[in-house]
Amino acid sequence: MHDLIVVEGVSKRYVTSSGPVDALRDVSLSVGTGEFCTLIGPSGCGKSTLLGILGGLVGADDGRVAIDGRPVDGPDPRRVATVFQDPGLFPWRTTLENVEFGLELQGMPAARRRRVATDLLGPLGLRDFAAKYPRELSGGMRQRVAIGRALAIDTPIVLMDEPFGALDEQTRVLMGEWLLEIWRRTRKTIVFVTHSLHEALALSTRVVIMTARPGRIKSVLELPMPYPRAMESPELVGLRAKLWSDIRDESLRAMQ
C-alpha cells in the first residue's frame, strides 16, 4: 500500500501557566491511501494535537510530517479537509452556504459551487434543509453539514476529530454507518479520532492506540474484516476485549 501520510518522530510540547506539557513524544505513523485509520486513547493523550499537526494547524516541535511526499507546513485545503468535534458552522450561513464555504475560499464561481454543494446534500440527508440555518438543525444534522463542508472541497484526505463525540449513542451509531457509506463511495483516506471502542471497531481498517500523556503509540490493531461488521461476532468481541485492556491501562494512568 502506498503511504499517503507519513509521520516520523513527531514531538509536541505545550507551554502552559502550570509549566510545560508533553503532548506527543516521538510519534511515528504511516497511513496508506484509502485507509480508515482511527486514533484512540485516553483523554489528553494528544490525539487531537496529532490531528492538528497533520492538518497543518499545529506546528510540531520535532520530527517530520509529509503528505504525498511533501512536508506539511500549514493548512493545505487542496489535500486535507478537517471536521472538528465542535462542528464550527457559521451561524449566519445556511446549510448550503456552509457547505460551499471551502469552495468559496478557493474562488470557485458561485453557480458552480452551488451545484457542487447541492449535489452533496442528497447523500448528506440534508436535501430538505438547504435553506435552514445551523440553529434550526439537530446536532447530528449540524455535524453532517460540517462533514459536507469538508467533502465539498474533495480532498484525498479527511481528518475527523471526534466528529460524533457530542451526539447521543443512537445518533452516533447511525452517523457511523452513514460515514462508512460515504467513505466506501468516495474512497478517501480518513484519519479519525474517537473515544468510542464501538466506533473504532465498526469503522476502521486500522486502530492506533495511544498512551496517556505524553502521547506515544502503544499498539496498532489491523482490522481487515469486511463491512458492515457484525459487532457480536466472536472475532470482534475478542478484539474489543483486547482493545479495551490496552486502553484501560492507559486511561487508568491518565486518571492518576
Binding site: G55, L57, P75, D76, P77, A81, T82, F84, D86, G88, F90, P91, W92, F101, G102, E104, L105, Q106, Y133, R135, R149, I153
Partner: protein, 250 residues
Amino acid sequence: MNKQIVLIRAVILIVMLGAWEIVGRTANPALYVPPSAAIPALGRLLTLHSYPDLLEHLLLTLREILIAYAMAIAAGLGAGFALGVNRLVGRAYGPILAALYAVPAVVWYPSLMLFFGLDAASKIAFGFLLGFFPITLAVLAGIRQVNPQLLVVARAFGADGVTAFRKVTLPAMLFTLVGGLRTGLALAVIGVIVGEVLGSKSGMGSLINHAYGLFRTPDYIALVVVTLVLIVGSDAVAALLERRAQRWTE
C-alpha cells in the same frame, strides 16, 4: 403591527395629553402650556411664522449631526479595530475606554467650547465625543464575541488573515457592531443638541434656548416636538438597519 398594541398606545397618548391639558390649564401659563396652546404654536412654527429661519437652523443641526456621526463612525471603527484585532491590547484598553465612557460627558463640554468656540465646531466635537465611545466599545465587544473555533475552521479551509476577517470576524460581530452604531447615532444627536442648548447662536438647540429664555413657552414646546421628531426619526432608521443585520446574522 399588532392592532391591540396600536390601540393601547393611542389610549396612553390620549390620557397623557389629557392630563397635560388639565395640569397646563390650572398652572402658571408662563411655565406650563397645555396641548391646546402648544398645537397652534406648532402650526405657527411649521408655517414659519414664529421662527421664519427655522429651516436654516434645522439644516444646520442636521449637518452638525451628520458630520459628528460620520467622524464618530470613522474614529470609532478605526480605534475599535486597531485596539481589538490584538486580543491582549483590546482587553487592556477596554476598561479604560469604559471608564471614560462612564464619565458624564457634559463635563467635557466647557473645554470643548474653549477649544472650538461657540459655533458649529464645538457642537460637532461634542456629538463626536458622545458617539465615539459606544461605537469603539461595540467593535471591541464584537471582536471578543467571535467564536475562536470559527477562525480555526476558516484557517483549516485556507483563509489568510484578511479573508478570515472578512468572511468570519465581520459577519460574526455584525449584530453587535450595528447595535453600537445605533447607540452612537442616538448619542451623537444628543451631543449636538445639548451642545446647542448649552451655548450657541444657531441650530435647533439655540432656538429652544431662545424661546425658553423669553418665556415663549408654547413656541418652546413646539420646537422640542420638532426636535423630538428628528431624533425619533433617525433612531427609527437605525432600528430598521439593526433588524436587517439581526436577520442576517442569526
